[in-house]
């Protein structure tokens, strides 16, 4: 561990640490453009020069290129170094245009800051300024190449860190150009990070273009809700409008970066059609009246038909407080529910997953990057949780092997082994792989008894596919050599047994290797929190569909829908609307303009994660994190003034500022129902949660601070295996194709479906199938096909690919496909239901 002195302060750093990083640990931020902690050093900008006074290196040197060594004495403020840096900035500014007033970076521009702090003021060079033609780079990133100072950060992120090739560098020397070969949208779903990385205004945020300067923004640390990973973001609002989201550093979760869905999908909070006032029978009412009426009607129904006639639906996009108060209200009142998941199999999978995670096997996204063997079972990272793909790539860059067992045509920005097996075959593949990997420990009796018993039950052949079996065994040999394997398991398309089996296998690997990780992908940003509450809620709540049937039969008279959109589940089903009509009382609380908000008689608006109150969210590894409120809420000024200036009136309150956090509304409802003896729902929430499920206990002991509190049980030493009934390989008849409903990066996720920038880049839905199946059906590339599903038919473009399992069709849960009925469970479509149009 080298010891060195920087600006008269001593520090000891690990060997290999660069001086710039060592200085940062002391809180000394040396000027930099090309150096970035995530991208490393490249020595392109020369602005991090410092003076080395003593030690193995002498004179002015680049602090990002010099590793810290024993005996170094460094001065960052030596006149020689400062003069050097001033000249470097003057050189960088030679060609920089005179456009700060019309540049979006102005106000948070690193070049601006360094120019001012470096002391460069007047341009002395009288020659012509170099210019470049700009390119169209898609809906997210604005290109203005004149401003470039050639730090190479964009190329290093885009190609090295993220692994996409369509953006890069051209020309040499003074003419170096960063862009694409030809105009066109950037292909990477991580391209938005270029905006954060660019130290000047070459790459700026297009949806937020000209919306405001950094000093005018209300900014706060928040969380991304567009998948279950819980990436950290900084949100910015201005004039009551969310205008921008940037990545925020959390070493344990997302690092510095976020995906484009998380960066540009926030605009649902500004949706012009969002209902913002409590509404009763078409009339706007005050909160007091709304709560009183709701309590009155619910009490009447409860008295007439019993509390079981009131059902409650929740969802996984509500904060922990909302979910908790909802659960407590149901418990106290004896209502049916709450049901947080829109399908029973999804609920069972989530419960199975989170009940098997403990502090010993659960890994964070950052831990996953350090794994040396990644077994991805039934997950399509780029589409389901994009940042996972970036995490896998970092592991791969460190030398990890990545194996993907998934029927879909998975694309990842790295070299990986894709075994396109049907969902029923994933269990077998896991068995074969892990069997090959731990065989020596088992035969030599190194495994604990329970693990050995589980090992003996593993399947040892993949029927009917010897080449695949051989490939699995050879991959198993690689797994055997690995020291830190991680199993990544998606919950979306896999059979229920796979979720359990992934946990069992990670335990077996841990028994054999001392170290193994388990990483689930869950449906929704707070699916873990909802799952913890569901696990504690015994007996489990009936499913959405069961409750709906009960409503149709008249057994359920009232329905409370908390931040859930049943149209995503039951769209186009006539019995769904019929059941809604039969209800005596339907209360909807939401922050999205769902199709339901226009239909219902009784609506209460809730706030988004960005407004009013801090909210807790539990990500897929059980990490509870807090999102701070960014602004107070209310209708955006741009909408109040219809694009022109805001109205010239004196007002007491905030226009459209009525929405309340869901938990607060529910607590008020609880008080209205119970009267003065009601508990302090929100104030005592953590205590109540901890009593309900001891996993919540850490919330009591400490405040939820960065980087989050893990709500996981202690590591279990007993290697409890579940031995699930494994899925069978041939569970699809030959004259049928299995239809997999899948997620896409853009177009399927609920929240970003309401955001114009992400709507702009989403592709129209298409049906994907394997070439053999297309041949069987007589379909060719470019065909349009009609697919009959549950009495209705939809027409789509067909995509034929090679790298997916046969016997399958893949269809995105696209928002443009709303109105289609998607039944529960594996969907089998007879071949005669697929026609060419």
């Amino acid at each position: 561990m080298p010891q060195l002195i920087i600006d008269r302060r001593e520090i000891e750093v690990p060997a290999g640490t660069k001086v710039i990083e060592a200085a940062a640990r002391l809180g000394i931020i040396i000027p930099r453009f090309c150096y970035h902690p995530a991208l490393g050093s490249v020595g392109a900008c020369r602005v991090c020069a410092v003076k080395f006074l003593e030690g193995p290196v002498k004179g002015v040197e680049m602090s990002c290129m010099t590793a810290a060594q024993d005996g170094m004495v460094v001065s960052t403020t030596h006149p020689e170094a400062m003069e050097f840096r001033r000249y470097v900035i003057e050189w960088l500014m030679l060609h920089h245009p005179h456009d700060c007033p019309v540049c979006d970076e102005g106000g948070h521009c690193l070049l601006q800051d360094e120019t001012v702090s470096g002391g460069h003021g007047l341009r002395r060079y009288l020659g012509l300024k170099r210019t470049y033609r700009d390119q169209y780079l898609g809906a997210f990133v604005q290109h203005e190449m004149n401003r470039c100072i050639h730090c190479w950060r964009c190329r290093r992120f885009y190609q090295d860190f993220a692994g996409y090739r369509d953006y890069g560098v051209m020309q040499i020397g003074n003419r170096t150009y960063f862009g694409r070969f030809a105009d066109g949208p950037l292909e990477s779903p991580f391209a938005g990070n270029l905006i954060d990385l660019c130290p000047t205004g070459v790459l700026t945020d297009k949806p937020a273009r000209f919306k405001g300067r950094r000093w005018d923004l209300e900014r706060a640390p928040s969380l991304c809700l567009h998948c279950s990973l819980g990436c950290n973001i900084t949100g910015s609002a201005r004039y009551r409008e969310m205008i921008r989201v940037e990545g925020r550093l959390n070493e344990a979760v997302n690092g510095y970066f976020i995906c484009d869905r998380g960066r540009f999908g926030f605009a649902y909070a500004n949706h012009p059609e969002r209902a913002r006032t409590p509404r009763l029978d078409g009339q706007e009412v005050t909160w007091e009246e709304a709560c009183r009426t709701a309590a009155h009607r619910l009490t009447r129904i409860s008295r007439e038909y019993g509390p079981g006639a009131i059902a409650v639906w929740g969802s996984t996009r509500s904060s922990l407080a909302t979910l908790g108060v909802l659960q407590r209200l149901c418990r106290e009142q004896g209502w049916l529910g709450p049901q947080f998941f829109n399908s029973p199999s999804r609920e069972r999978k989530v419960k199975a997953a989170i009940s098997r995670l403990d502090a010993g096997v659960a890994v964070s996204l950052a831990d996953l990057e350090k794994a040396d063997f990644l077994l991805v079972a039934g997950a399509d990272p780029v589409n389901e949780a994009p940042m996972l793909a970036l995490g896998l790539r970092q592991a791969w860059r460190r030398g990890a092997t990545v194996v993907v067992l998934d029927p879909r045509p998975v694309h990842l920005p790295l070299e990986f082994e894709h075994l396109p097996v049907p969902p029923g075959g994933i269990d077998l593949c896991l068995d074969l792989l892990v069997r090959a990997a731990v065989s020596h420990s088992a035969t030599e009796g190194l495994l604990p008894e329970a693990a050995a018993a589980f090992f003996n039950n593993l399947s040892c052949e993949y029927p009917g596919d010897q080449p695949l079996q051989d490939r699995l065994v050879s991959l198993g040999m690689k797994l055997k050599e690995s020291k830190n394997p991680v199993i990544v398991c998606g919950l979306d398309i896999v059979r229920e047994s796979t979720v359990v089996l992934a946990a069992d296998h990670s335990r077996l690997l841990r028994a054999a290797k001392d170290r193994a990780g388990l990483f689930y992908l869950l449906p929704g940003p707070n699916a873990f929190g909802a799952g913890l509450l569901s696990l504690a809620g015994e007996p489990s709540s009936p499913s959405y569909a069961d409750m709906l049937a009960a409503a149709e039969q008249g057994r359920i008279k009232a329905l409370v829908m908390m931040e859930t959109d049943p149209f995503r589940t039951f769209a186009g089903q006539p019995q769904f609307l019929a059941a809604l009509d039969r209800l005596e009382f339907l209360l909807v609380l939401d922050y999205l303009p769902t199709p339901l908000t226009d239909r219902v008689q009784f609506f209460l608006p809730t706030t988004t994660v960005f407004e009013e109150e801090p909210s807790g969210w539990v990500n897929q590894e059980g990490r509870c994190q807090q999102a701070a409120p960014i602004y107070v809420g209310g209708r955006p000024i741009s909408q109040e003034g219809a694009g022109s200036h805001p109205p010239r009136v004196f007002l007491a309150g905030i226009p459209g500022g009525e929405p309340q956090p869901g938990g607060q509304t529910l607590a008020a409802l609880g008080v209205a129902l119970k009267g003065t003896g009601a508990p302090l729902y929100l104030e005592e929430l953590d205590t109540w949660l901890a009593e309900l499920n001891p996993v919540f206990a850490p919330l009591l002991e400490s405040k939820v601070t960065h980087p989050g509190v893990r709500l996981l049980p202690e590591a279990r030493g007993d290697y409890a295996f579940s031995h699930p009934n494994k899925a069978t390989l041939r569970d699809v008849p030959d004259d049928h194709l299995e239809l997999l409903l899948v997620d896409w990066t853009f177009g399927t996720e609920e929240l970003s479906g309401y955001a114009p920038p992400t709507q702009e880049v989403e592709q129209p839905p298409r049906l994907t199938m394997q070439s053999r199946d297309a041949l069987r059906l007589g379909l060719g590339p470019g065909d349009r096909v009609s697919l009959a599903l549950g009495g209705e038919s939809i027409t789509l473009d067909l995509e034929i690919v090679e790298n997916m399992a046969s016997g399958m069709m893949v269809l995105p849960r696209h928002r443009q496909l709303a109105g289609q009925k998607f039944p529960e469970g594996p969907i089998l479509v007879p071949l005669q239901n697929i026609h060419k149009v």
Binding site: P101, C103, D134, R175, H645
Partner: protein, 184 residues
């Protein structure tokens, strides 16, 4: 008695002073007045005196204001607010621009901050109103059809940011780099 004599002297002195003072006043009745009667007479103010604010235009008759938010940032009483937007041709402009003159202290910092010479203070100070809301000026109230104190400057000829035409057409700019050629 010495006291008696003193009193007589003081009375005489007082009378003289009284008469002198009234005499001066009396004389001034016949002098030409130097007071200027406002509002009957309005004295021309120096061009750099600071009062009502205007938004000027460049020689091409385009709005100079690019809504860069620097004036609102420099305003010590936060009386300037605006929203920037992009015109169809890519030029940045103020979708709306508002100055609350009931708050303005006419310090002129906005003018100093303005990089395009758009916002300028004029000598016109007669802006009093009874209703505060009428002191809130919008862009259409502020925009004038001349260049104010500088008729020549056109920021967009120096900016380097394209509004129309090809890159490299602005003052002190080279032709754009040809990416598909290795020739210098």
């Amino acid at each position: 008695m010495p006291g008696e004599k003193n009193r007589l002297l003081r009375v005489t002195e007082g009378l003289v002073a009284l008469i002198q003072g009234f005499w001066t006043t009396f004389i001034h009745l016949f002098r030409k007045p130097i007071t200027e009667e406002y509002p009957e007479y309005k004295r021309p103010l120096p061009p750099r005196s600071r009062a009502r604010i205007i938004l000027t235009r460049d020689p091409d008759f385009e709005e100079r204001c690019v809504a860069c938010y620097l004036c609102s940032a420099s305003c010590p009483v936060s009386c300037i607010s605006m929203q920037s937007a992009e015109r169809a041709d890519g030029r940045r402009y103020a979708a709306w621009f508002r100055i609350n003159f009931s708050r303005c202290i006419y310090c002129g910092l906005c003018e100093e901050a303005c990089p395009t010479l758009a916002i300028q203070l004029t000598p016109d100070f007669e802006t009093c109103q009874y209703d505060l809301l009428t002191l809130v000026a919008e862009k259409e109230d502020l925009l004038v059809d001349h260049g104010g104190k500088n008729q020549e400057y056109n920021y967009y000829r120096y900016a380097g940011v394209l509004v129309d035409g090809d890159k490299g057409g602005h003052i002190q700019e080279a032709r754009p780099v040809n990416l598909k050629s290795n020739l210098p």
